[in-house]
Symmetry: C2
Subunit: 149 residues, 2 copies
Amino acid sequence: MKQKRQNAILKIIEEMCIRTQDELSDQLQRRGFDVTQATVSRDIKELCLLKKQTAGGSRYTAPEKEGFRESVGKVHSIFQSAVKTVDYAMHTIVIRTLAGMADAAAITLESMEWPEILGTIAGDDTVLVILRDAETAKMIADRLSGMLK
Amino acid sequence: MKQKRQNAILKIIEEMCIRTQDELSDQLQRRGFDVTQATVSRDIKELCLLKKQTAGGSRYTAPEKEGFRESVGKVHSIFQSAVKTVDYAMHTIVIRTLAGMADAAAITLESMEWPEILGTIAGDDTVLVILRDAETAKMIADRLSGMLK
DNA sequence: AAAATTTTTTCATATTTATTCCTCCTTTTG
DNA sequence: CAAAAGGAGGAATAAATATGAAAAAATTTT
C-alpha cells in the first residue's frame, strides 16, 4: 500500500500544484488512500520531494536528478552498518568501523558532500575526518552520531 | 543591506549545512547581520532556496537552475500590472487585461507551468484559460485573484 | 529639510511540517 | 504456534516556517 501511495503522490504532484501536505492528503483521500498529514510528511521525506517557489505560492515537486531519491536512504544505512563509534579531537573526527569497512564509510561520507568536511582519510577500520575548526568538528561529530540511531 | 545580506546567505549555505532558518539567522548574527527568523524566511523565499533531503537531515541549498530566482518575482509583477480582473465560468477562466496586454499575461501564465492549466488563448485585452474541470477553474481563479493583491 | 511615500523589519501569531509515542499488523524465529 | 521483532500509521504535540500589522528605516517629493 505504501509503495502504491507513494507512486500516487508522484503522479498527483505532477498533475496539479500541491502547496501543503494537507492538500496532498486530501487528494490522496479522494483516490482512496486514507492517510493523515503525518504519513504524507514521511512520504515526502522518503521521496525527497522539494517545495519550490513559483509565482503565486510554492509547490511540491519531484527532484530533477533521477536516482537521487534512492541513494539518500542507502547512504544512511551503509554508514549505520559500517560505523561503530564516532569521536572527535581538535578539528578532526575519528570514526571507528567494522574491520575493512573504513573505506566504505569514507566514501559514503564524501557522497554526502557536506561542505564543512575538508577531507577524509580511511585506513582499515578507522576514518579520520578533517574539519575547519574544533567547533565544527564537535557539531559534525554530533550529527554523525545522530545518524547511528 | 538587504542585498548584502542575501549574498551572505548564499555564501553561508554553500559553505555549511544550514538546516533551519534559526541556524541561518545565527550565522548571520555572527557576521554582523542582526536579523530575525522572520526576515530570513522572506529572504529564503526571495532567493528561492530549496530545502533538500540529505543523509542525516535536510539542508537549504541554492536552486541549480540559474536565472530561475530572478524570474519568479518578475512573472508575478508582470501579471499584476497587466491584469485587471479574473473571473471564471464552467471549466474556463476569463482574464481581462489592459488593452494589448493579453498576450503578455498569457505568456506569464504559461511560464508558471501550472499543470492544471491545459492551455490559454489570448486576444487583445482578454485571456481565456482552459482548465480540466469547473472545480479546478474555481480554485485556479482564486489563486490568480490572490496574485493581484 | 520636512513631509510623504515606499521598503524593510520586527513582534506576535497562524500555519505548516516533523516527531514522539503508541497501537496494530506482518514477518521471523525458536 | 507463541513470542519476539520490525514496520507502518495515527493522534497528539513539538518544531519550524510564513504572515499580518505595526513600527522603523530608507527614499523620494515638495
